[in-house]
Subunit: 162 residues, 2 copies
Amino acid sequence: EQEVVSGVAHSRDEAKITLRNLPDIPGVAAQVFGPLADHAINVDMIVQNVSADQRRTDLTFTVGRADLPAALKVLSENAGKLEGVEVQSSADVAKVSIIGIGMRSYVGVASKMFKTLSEKGINIQVITTSEIKVSVLIAEDYTELAVRALHTAYGLDRPEGE
Amino acid sequence: EQEVVSGVAHSRDEAKITLRNLPDIPGVAAQVFGPLADHAINVDMIVQNVSADQRRTDLTFTVGRADLPAALKVLSENAGKLEGVEVQSSADVAKVSIIGIGMRSYVGVASKMFKTLSEKGINIQVITTSEIKVSVLIAEDYTELAVRALHTAYGLDRPEGE
Ligand SMILES: C[C@@H](O)[C@H](N)C(=O)O
Ligand SMILES: C[C@@H](O)[C@H](N)C(=O)O
């Protein structure tokens, strides 16, 4: 069973914004991100799950912390105005990612990441994936603990003196 | 404003599984994916959003359609047994992705994707992102329409005869 993880990346410069109860109809995602793009606000992760009731769903995205006030202002003037929609945010998060090349045993890599974090009592707030990366958002206080635990779990610890 | 999108990818061989009301505490994601990894079930997208009530959250992942029965069986014997948890699934989805290299104007690329799909009346069910890719799940019937519309939007249409 080949280890295919090449690295652990992390970023503390993350703030999460969640729009609750977005109408789940065509055009809404565009209403969220169009104005953000027009204001050149850099967005990192975007996560939206399946609607539970075919009517509303939640959407979370992250920005650098310095961009949080600007992003919230843009939302308040646009999608944040949609009826029933609530905007929540927090800068108290960090993004931690497992990077692998050609992760054929992808689910094994993801499952090990989730298990390792849980063994340290670290709650996973958001999960998003691509073929080469599994990324999570966790509370910022746990960043160093998470990164160290993952380095050890995937055998990426550096030898002494390196 | 530089176009940095290099391609549109799509896969109809996708089935989505959503676990509703997972307890949002450490160890739960591991309980979902550990058994799937043990049964060598290939997982593609994994999407989890922030809990709305600090107690429960939903998690969606996709598998190839042939793996759907096996995945559902594994879940029914594991995380699907957690109190209050509901497992929903559908094979009527397709994954469509925009691929870019060094997407500096990332939010612009994502916003254009969402706008293009909405103009064709295509609802976006799931969104997940990485630095080089924005992926969505849509109803499978709309796959070809979505891919053609995105090719046109990003100027990727092939010249006649190619
Ligand atoms: C919620 C949002 O993604 C909506 N479903 C849309 O297509 O724009
Ligand atoms: C829901 C699940 O991701 C949970 N928060 C965990 O850490 O495992």
